[in-house]
């Protein structure tokens, strides 16, 4: 399946901004499950752009803007072929205690090594209450895949999807207490639960193909960014994607933008501006399968 993605971010400022320094993580990842056929980022006003590959393998752009402006528009376009299929339930599911020991004792510090997803991080600090809650899914001797899938399903079953009630800065503990939130909150809660039990879990940002209701056209710009979790299931199974928002294993409808320890590692736009006024933000995302485009 090939997707065309258009992701437009617009900041409007009350006062003129003299200069801005941004990091843009808007180019989909190129890895075993997906091939990036095309990727391009444009910034208005004109910016000095520098490309870089981050530690976890995402392609990012540094933008330096020294033109005074009242509006900053970032448009990212990409074309991605997804070859990923949802994983089959593994025949051999290692006990989570063995996975835990393997994660702690490995010497690899390579970007894909489980160790990077093992410790508390900025947006997912240690949360013993979440770990205690998660442990019901992983009693002694449980297979790591089975236990993780159970945790994902419990989040889906017990948490309410409540857009607009949380924001990018909502701590996992708060969403956990309220049992409400959006994809980012569910991912953070699941990561906190797994890490609390000594299991590596990381954050994935990306897009999910949306299928319009039968007989209705797809609304332009109505798609959104999505977030889910990858759990490390031992040296043989490696990383497996779990989507707690949909209680689904990650498959061909998921397009990966970036992976990191939590949202702070992968936030699509980050930066500082010199300004005295407030700002507002508008985002529009389109994820269109190419066949659909041709058919339209």
């Amino acid at each position: 399946m090939i997707y065309r993605i258009r992701h437009v971010t617009t900041y409007s400022y009350e006062a003129t901004v003299a200069s801005a320094r941004c990091v843009l993580r808007l180019t989909p990842r190129d890895d075993a499950g997906q091939a990036r056929l095309f990727g391009d980022v444009r910034v208005t006003p004109d910016a000095r752009l520098r490309e870089e590959t981050c530690f976890f393998g995402a392609r990012l752009h540094h933008a330096e803007i020294d033109t005074p402006h009242r509006e900053l528009r970032i448009e990212a376009r990409a074309r991605v072929r997804i070859t990923r299929t949802p994983p089959a339930v593994p025949a051999e599911d290692p006990a989570f205690e063995d996975v835990r020991a393997a994660a702690a004792t490995g010497t690899s510090r390579a970007p894909d090594a489980p160790v990077h997803a093992l410790f508390p991080s900025q947006a997912v600090p240690a949360a013993p209450e979440i770990a205690a809650w998660a442990s019901a899914s992983l009693p002694e001797g449980t297979g790591v895949f089975a236990g993780t899938r159970d945790l994902m399903r419990r989040i889906h079953a017990e948490f309410a999807y409540a857009p607009g009630e949380t924001d990018v800065a909502t701590p996992a503990r708060e969403a956990f207490r309220a049992r409400r939130g959006v994809c980012q909150d569910f991912a953070h809660v699941m990561i906190a639960g797994l890490r609390g039990l000594g299991l590596p879990a990381r954050y994935v940002s990306g897009y999910l193909r949306t299928i319009p209701p039968e007989g209705r056209p797809r609304l332009v710009g109505a798609d959104a960014t999505h977030a889910w979790v990858e759990a490390w299931c031992g040296p043989d199974l490696g990383w497996i994607g779990f989507d707690p928002t949909n209680a689904a294993l990650v498959g061909p409808d998921h397009i990966v933008l970036a992976v990191g320890r939590d949202y702070a590692d992968v936030s699509p736009v980050d930066g500082v501006v010199i300004s005295s006024g407030g700002q507002s933000l508008a985002v529009s995302v389109d994820v269109v399968p190419e066949e659909e485009e041709r058919g339209a």
């Binding site: 870089e52 004792t105 490995g106 990018v168 699509p268």
Partner: protein, 847 residues
């Protein structure tokens, strides 16, 4: 340090036998004074012998002088979570170590520094971990492990330029490593200050004992920093988190001592792979940054986006090799206790050497074997966070429930926990209530990477616990620090940090932020003084005129003026509005004649009420805040005068103070202001910094001249008003020598505004400002005047042709507006973000 009585001093120097008499080392711990054989160690015997000839008077005088130094220099530190600095607690006696023992310590510290550098290089090279490398989790678990720095070759070739290690002597007499510090080690400046303090107490003694000097170490460290720079004669700065940092005093001390500018993140701009300092002469490239900001706070773009202390783009500049840092961000990734248990092995693997200095036995519970051992020894070990420094828990002190919880934590997330052997630290004698008592201590030792290898500071920063049973010592309440004397075998060369350099008469480029703070320091000091003058005038008018007398009008005008300056809290402005006084803001020049007599004492409120933004107390607080950012630039005496400024305690708790008391306090305060102004005038180099400070003062004084003239010398001014105005602008004598008649409006206005020879006139201020902006660096290459110069020249010209007889309220308002425009233009031209001094704001949002 508390001063010693002569009797106490006599006891202290009574000789060795007296010292050791009644001094009992603690059982189970080694002691510095008394060796393992029960007799005094030789180095201490030398100290006691050398103290012998000192007279009690000498010693008491010495302690007094040390006390004074601490007070005058303002040596201080801040306990986390406290707003105010604490005075520095330094012990009367140094810790003394002989040359042979020190040589072994220094060799061990230098070796460990090399090991840390090798480990950091391997971690940041980013390749596959070689055989024998520590478990990845013991490294990656550190919050100081910074992924964006992996694969970045450190500019200048090293990750570590300054390494520190806490050591302590165990019961077996050996020195053990307790902690490593590779992030941004603190305390070297305190070691320096302790040395300066003790050299006041024992000036001759240090030479006689051949105490090794610290200056060569700092000189070598500075050479090491310079060697990191890519350019000849590199520009080096100390990157500080600012005055709210716990160790800001120390940073300012080191910056001054090493001759480095203290820069905050806001001072710097990263652009196209290089880093620049914002100065009044434009952007100037900086080559090396000595970092005291935590690694992950260095760059909000590449690292922790929450940081307000860093420089966006700094990591990109490091990657491009455009700037070098000491230590590199990420250097903190090897200081965690989790790694301690692996160090001996790593020393053999990376250096091919056995460790010279052992570290305390440590079990990192991420490793199954170590975890089981630690669990088996739950009752005898101390347990601590494997990555985050903090207090440890003694297994022995936990109850059954506590132990079960600890064991569960270790089983679930053993990676977060270390078990450590409990070491009883050796004790050193401290002076307590007239006797010597043993107290445990730890010693921080510093190593600097220099062009000729690692050099270890002969001495260090010792911290002595207040209680005899402390295991680990941190600088907190009730902790003493001590100087450390390493005795040399041969006489010590006198070296101090006096490099041979060519003569210079320029002081380098003034950073824009320092310019900003100097300007506002000048403004706030002058604002405080101007308001104090009004308060004095008001109190004097009250004192002279009785109720209902002719002085009432002057009192009312002065009160109205003080209110208009915002020197009384808002809640009292209601009365003013009722009188038809619109707004009553600080900028208002016209003042109503009819201000209802308030219930509160306006003069006293204007002095004391910091809640009112225009009060003397508020202006002083603001001046102090500006000065606190300038501690590397202000002479200690100037800092002390500013930090001790205060309106003074009110005479009583009454709402209404007697005018005489208020007048006394105002006059005492005016003398303090005069002392500061005198210090600035007589002692400050005529640098760009002085010009900024003076411009701030001139702007504020000019504004005050407009306001008081408007209020007291306008249409309908009484002779009492004019008299008060002459007092406020200090022109009584001049007026009397020039005019035979009493005060008349036009001549008084001439003195207050237009006479260029009167140092408080508006014209005088305008001419000084014009001189300053002409002397300050220009950025334009075409030689045309910049906006501040153009505005200052316009104002000066306008005043040169003005006529005191015809100056009315609109003309005054126009002058005041010109001054405000000039102040804005100065801000826009010289300050980091222009006049509005905006802070960078975060741009974020789930996009």
């Amino acid at each position: 340090m508390t001063a010693l009585t002569r009797a106490q001093a006599r006891e202290l120097i009574h000789g060795l036998s007296h010292w050791t008499q009644g001094y009992a080392p603690l059982p189970g711990a080694a002691d510095e004074l008394i060796g393992p054989d029960g007799t005094p160690r030789p180095a201490w015997a030398r100290l006691a012998r050398a103290l012998g000839p000192m007279s009690p008077g000498d010693l008491a005088r010495g302690f007094g002088s040390a006390e004074r130094h601490i007070r005058e220099v303002g040596i201080s530190y801040r306990v986390h979570g406290e707003a105010a600095d604490r005075a520095w607690p330094v012990a009367h006696l140094p810790i003394v170590i002989d040359a042979a023992e020190w040589k072994a310590i220094a060799a061990g510290v230098a070796q460990r520094a090399r090991l840390m550098e090798a480990l950091l290089a391997e971690i940041h090279a980013g390749g596959a971990a070689p055989d024998g490398a520590p478990p990845a989790a013991a490294i990656v678990g550190s919050p100081n492990y910074l992924r964006p720095l992996v694969g970045v070759a450190p500019p200048g070739g090293r990750h570590l330029s300054l390494y520190a290690v806490d050591i302590g002597r165990g019961p077996d007499g050996r020195w053990w490593v307790l902690n490593d510090r590779t992030q941004a080690p603190s305390g070297a400046g305190y070691a320096l200050e302790n040395r300066i303090v003790l050299s006041r107490v024992y000036p001759a003694l240090m030479e006689r004992l051949r105490v090794q000097r610290l200056a060569p170490f700092f000189a070598a460290f500075r050479d090491g920093l310079a060697a990191l720079g890519a350019r000849e004669d590199p520009r080096i700065g100390l990157l500080t988190p600012g005055p709210y940092s716990e160790t800001y005093f120390e940073q300012a001390t080191l910056a001054r001592y090493l001759g480095l500018p203290l820069v905050e993140g806001d001072d710097l701009v990263a652009r196209d792979g290089s880093v620049y300092v914002r100065t009044v002469s434009g952007l100037k490239r900086i080559d090396v940054l000595w970092r005291r900001v935590d690694g992950d706070y260095c760059d909000p773009l590449a690292l922790d986006a929450r940081s307000r202390l860093g420089v966006p783009g700094l990591v990109a500049a490091l990657r491009a090799g455009g700037v070098a840092m000491a230590n590199m961000p990420g250097a903190g990734a090897v200081e965690q206790p989790a790694l301690m248990g692996f160090m001996a092995l790593q020393c053999r693997r990376l250096l091919g050497e056995d460790p010279l200095l052992p570290n305390i036995a440590t079990w990192w519970c991420g490793e199954p074997v170590a975890r089981e051992e630690a669990l088996a020894r739950l009752e005898t070990l101390a347990f601590a966070d494997a990555f985050v420094p903090g207090p440890s828990t003694l297994g022995a002190e936990l109850d059954a429930q506590g132990r079960a919880a600890l064991a569960a934590r270790i089983r679930t997330r053993g990676v977060d926990v270390v078990g450590q052997e409990v070491v009883r630290l050796s004790t050193t004698p401290v002076w307590r209530d007239g006797t010597l008592e043993p107290r445990p201590f730890s010693l921080r030792v510093y190593a600097a990477a220099t062009p000729s290898g690692w050099q270890v500071m002969p001495g260090g920063f010792a911290r002595i616990a207040e209680r005899p049973d402390a295991r680990a010592v941190s600088m907190g309440e009730g902790t003493l620090s001590a100087d450390v004397w390493v005795l040399a075998d041969a006489p010590v060369a006198r070296v101090s940090l006096v490099p041979q350099e060519r003569i210079r008469r320029v002081s380098g480029h003034l950073p824009s932020r320092a310019a900003d703070n100097l300007f506002w320091l000048g403004r706030y000091l002058e604002r405080a003084e101007a308001t104090t003058r009004l308060v004095a005038a008001l109190a004097a008018a009250r004192l002279e005129g009785g109720e209902g007398g002719p002085g009432d009008e002057t009192v009312a005008r002065l009160e109205g003026l003080i209110r208009a300056l915002g020197a009384v809290p808002d809640d009292e402005e209601d009365a003013e509005s009722a009188d038809g006084e619109g707004g009553g803001g600080r900028e208002a020049a016209a003042v109503s004649l009819v201000a209802a007599l308030p219930a509160r004492d306006i003069a006293r409120t204007a002095l004391d009420d910091a809640a009112a933004p225009g009060s003397v107390a508020a202006a002083i607080a603001s001046a102090r805040r500006a000065a606190s950012h300038l501690r590397d630039r202000l002479a200690p005496q100037a800092w002390r005068l500013v930090s001790e400024l205060s309106p003074g305690a009110p005479a009583g708790e009454d709402e209404i103070a007697s005018p005489a008391d208020t007048l006394d306090r105002a006059q005492a305060l005016l003398e303090r202001f005069a002392a500061i102004a005198g210090l600035v005038h007589e002692n400050m180099t005529r640098s760009d910094g002085w010009r900024l400070l003076d411009m701030g003062r001139r702007i504020e004084r000019g504004l005050a001249a407009c306001r008081v003239t408007g209020a007291l010398a306008g249409a309908g001014a009484t002779s009492g008003d004019l008299d008060a105005l002459l007092d406020i602008v200090d022109c009584q004598i001049t007026y009397r020598t020039r005019y035979l008649f009493g005060p008349a409006p036009a001549p008084v206005r001439d003195l207050a505004l237009i006479d260029p020879n009167s140092p408080r006139s508006l014209a005088f201020q305008a001419e000084r400002i014009l001189e300053h902006v002409r002397a300050l660096p220009a950025l334009r290459e075409d030689g045309l005047p910049e906006p501040p110069e153009r505005l200052a020249a316009t104002l000066a010209r306008g005043l040169a042709i003005a006529d005191a007889a015809t100056i009315d309220a609109p003309a005054l308002a126009a002058f005041e507006a010109d001054l405000a425009d000039l102040a804005d233009a100065i801000g826009a031209r010289y300050f980091p973000h222009g006049a509005a001094a905006e802070r960078p704001e975060k741009l974020s949002g789930l996009a």
